[in-house]
Amino acid sequence: MFAAALIVLVPISALFLRSAGLTWDQFIAAAFSPRVMASYRLSFGGALIAAVFNVIAGLIVAWVLVRYDFPFRKLVDALVDLPFALPTAVAGVALTALYAPKGVLGKALLSIGIKAAFTPLGVVLAMIFIGLPFVVRTVQPVLQDLEDEHEEAAVSLGADRWQVFTYVILPSILPALVTGFALAFARALGEYGSVIFIAGNMPGVSEIAPLMIVTKLEQYDYAGASAIATVMLVAAFAMLLVINSAQKWHQTRLAGR
């Protein structure tokens, strides 16, 4: 436990130390310039949209995998893990090829007037791709363990299918959904490799926050890079803390009933 804590905490404290070399004004200038602010909006906003989408899509995928039997189900089940296994740069290059104006999907989208690659939309699409397995893999085992008796009891008491879902199934899988959401969100926020190729990286428009860190490093501005990283870390930590406490509160409320 102690060793594990060291492995995680030492790099994080090194990060804070690096940015501690800055004065307050320098820190503000590095971490909150308009261009960096635009990158936070894209990174946090994109990660949020992608995670919300993934909660819905991931639940449907997990549901279908658990409740239905169909040809190649095992294969589809295995395919879900692909974004985990794929090197991120490979995913990025593949997604860009797909969504670029000349790519299969890009061409189709362009014909209805939507530009995907090299826009914020492309960033969100990449974030969805890498985040989906987190939701599927956290929800799937919980769905599997749900006992049929609960649903049967609900039906015998006169609940319709929608009531069974909202009053019986959803409360049981909600913690898993929230965990999946948090994981997908965190992954999308920190993602570099698979997003950077499709982003287009236009200043103020499609630059993600991790790219701003790389840009600072490229100028040997270690302190400035750490300042941005610190802001991201604190913001991400705050969001995860809120999610976790909401979950705690939800659980105690359930237990108290």
Binding site: A97, A100, F118, F197, M202, P203, E218
Partner: protein
Amino acid sequence: MKIAQSHGGSGKQARSVIDGLEADVVTLALAYDIDAIAEHAGLLPADWQGRLPNNSSPYTSTIVFLVRKGNPQHIKDWDDLVKPGVAVITPNPKTSGGARWNYLAAWAYADAKFGHDEKQTRAFMTALFKNVPVLDSGARGATTSFVQRGLGDVLLAWENEALMAEQSFGKDDFQIVRPSLSILTEPPVAVIDKVVDRHKTRAEAEEYLKHLYSPEAQELAAKHFYRPTDPAVAAKVKDRFPAMTLVNIADLGGWQKAQQTHFTDGAIFDQIMGAARQ
């Protein structure tokens, strides 16, 4: 002696050395990155670049245009790149050391064209970057965008990369256009003094770098599309490397000044990108 190759960006490699990667020798894309090793880690003296001939660059290259077969947009020179409707692919000079040469080549052209009038030069650069649809983070990404994604009408590239692309993808798809003025790109090499002294490998490291200037190594460099600096070898391969008007980085005040003026946060490149978006 072990040679470890890394094909990451020049700046990333320099940071590895600064952070303690024990390299005896570095060969990077621009002198600024080796300057950074001297400045931030003090592993070699600040005047390292004078220790070997030709600014410590055994071979050189330049920035050229790669266009699509038949040159449908009739691109001949830098002026054609600022025309409305022409899409130019070049990586972000803030994240790609190699792309800083692309940017400076364009700047040098505009600077000469407008007789050092900075206002007009900036307007030219703004028009140029208005035509850049995607800023890839590295040179390889930009080449992929242009060659495989089919993005853009012209790719700004190192001549060796362009010649290699022309060779590997076939002249049926791409051709090289050499502008009337470009920049002499000097990818420098240096021995990292503190590391070789600790490893006791100074003799081998120095010998290796000296060997890069030998006729055999020069021919090898030419084979890989770099311009050799050895006059005899250069004469032999002059058909492959047409003579061009080239400025060098010293004409622009050296890397430290170029970096300060153009590429630090809020400097000219950021201002140009701000103006180009309006």
